[in-house]
Symmetry: C2
Subunit: 397 residues, 2 copies
Amino acid sequence: MYYFSRAVNSVHSEDIKRLMRQASGPDLISFAGGMPNNDLFPIRQIDAIYDGLSESIKKSCFQYGPTSGHPTLLASVRQRLLNKGLPDEGNRLLITTGSLQAISIITQEFINEGDVVLTENPCFVGALSVFETYGAEVHGIPIDENGIQIDRLKTKIDALNKKPKFLYLTPNFHNPAGITYSLERRRELLEFLDGQDIIVLEDDAYSDLFFDPEHEKLVKPLKAHTGYDVDIIYTGSFSKILGPGFRLGFMYASPEVSEKAETVKQALDACTSNFMQILASEFSHEEYLDPYLAFLRNEYRERKSILQKAMNEFMPDGVKWTEPLGGFYFWLRFPEGFSSTELFENCRERGVVFVTGRTFDPHNERDNCLRLAFSNMPRKHIEPGIRILAEEIRKLL
Amino acid sequence: MYYFSRAVNSVHSEDIKRLMRQASGPDLISFAGGMPNNDLFPIRQIDAIYDGLSESIKKSCFQYGPTSGHPTLLASVRQRLLNKGLPDEGNRLLITTGSLQAISIITQEFINEGDVVLTENPCFVGALSVFETYGAEVHGIPIDENGIQIDRLKTKIDALNKKPKFLYLTPNFHNPAGITYSLERRRELLEFLDGQDIIVLEDDAYSDLFFDPEHEKLVKPLKAHTGYDVDIIYTGSFSKILGPGFRLGFMYASPEVSEKAETVKQALDACTSNFMQILASEFSHEEYLDPYLAFLRNEYRERKSILQKAMNEFMPDGVKWTEPLGGFYFWLRFPEGFSSTELFENCRERGVVFVTGRTFDPHNERDNCLRLAFSNMPRKHIEPGIRILAEEIRKLL
């Protein structure tokens, strides 16, 4: 009966729905859900913050706020970005309802049906779903353990008959690949893009979650490497350092991009929740955030180490992965012809789930790989889960 | 330098930005801001709810939730909709990040550049801004004190060379016009639309805020009038009954519309804040919401009465308005040729602001009218404000 003028059609949107059904269940050992750990949220800190809010601040929690964001949160996020080395001048900050909204806004700003977006392959499925929903033609560029493969990127750009609208990258603690761009690859990439007039959308949701303080220097954002003629729209999130339930993210971009983005945001949800922004801005004060991040890094490093140890012990030859330096994910790679979808069915029968490789392939094809998330599971599940997974892999190899 | 593929262009979006700059300031008597009263938010109730949340519920506040909404909020909103007489069968509920997001989702579902949307004239400026941002061709149909003028609606539909994608209506306590559709006009409208295959988008943000319990029966939503072959997408909001800072709204529509809407929402912000949904669902329990609504109705009725009394006393002949039965607004109408923009400049110099008429005209033309919001101002400002306004009107008449 209805006529839908817009395509509103996305393979990866269906993947996400399936994933949400499969990712949890009683008695399931789930490596599927790429979310923070339920038991690690800073509940006591937020309780203390809430109790300490004055009457007049609480009133503003309940009210509308500026479309660009609450002034106190804008100030504290900006300070954190400057601490990460991002340039102060020539950029504006916009608070968004989760960083997915920032990706959605940029997509709506730049993409008409059939326009080209370049991504890494594999790629964050949430972003793929946004690009597809707005009708983009998505081309994935392979990555290796040091980042996107620049020769493959160049070949793709040369082969395209239209200019890509933007290049979507997640250089730090990649979801799903678990890799971190090397400093050299960052430099090579920026040199390659210098003056090419291809906008970069840099998604930096995980960079605070490094496992070793030594590695903090590795995660310097592309946008913090100045001196190149490359326009970079930088997005970040509170989902991994406070909680996804707050639905808080941000984008940091040129005034031209930001101004249009604010108009789009006004037409999306008018403004982001003052309530959530005020709690987050209080939390961002160093006395809460820094100790909490230290705690989180430790917790996630421990889980990563348990998983790494179990993998070393149980995984058969022929399975490859890169040990992550931060974030939530291991990305397992198998020989050509291996089907992680077949493996998934076998493992699910034994109560173990993960996310299949092709979910993260922009072309929904490459399936000889899979993602394990170690973030939201009890420690004691990790080894038994890997044991079952390894047994089932062995049968299929 | 940038190429923007999308128009992202809206006269009414600029109006909103201007409004936000002008609506508040120290020592200003502002009838401009169409928001709830800062001093009336249910802070004590939310404090009590927050303090009473169990550890495990708090954990879920911090986590991702289903795209369609948190199950407890879905259940309580559904019950409230059934209490309003909305049909139980054949519809699905989707929680949105404010009801503006619901309007945005529907617009994205149905509208491509150049498609026709019909609205009332005057019309809620937030909705106009959404329709324009997504490239709709908007046609406004005049309303009188009983609702949209059906003969004018018919003439417009007949004159169009393409079928309207939907008709956007706000039958209860209209923003800005302050009117409420009569029962007869509702019936006539539904009879006219019966079988015409024109979707109605019914925005019902204010219907809980009637001033007289007698008038509750007047606000029965169009969607609750069954027996007509008219597809109605119904939207509602928590902004007026809890606080805009929660960014909570909802849409209630056929499964076909809702399923696509959920896919669009997934590409907008993945899900609405669990934190805000859980607090709202606890608040929706009758022990909090009903007494709070009774309190609010009383507070707003008192402000309305003070304003009405001052208008009766000070307004010169030639100024017309309809006394509102609920909501936040008076809509003043002046003779042809009167410029509320000119009046605005004169009043602003004397510290009184409101919103000019043409802001709410889809065609940004008709300016011999203006909106007064009495919701978010101290009682003691009302009479002095009206006195100044009346003096300035007298000078221009």
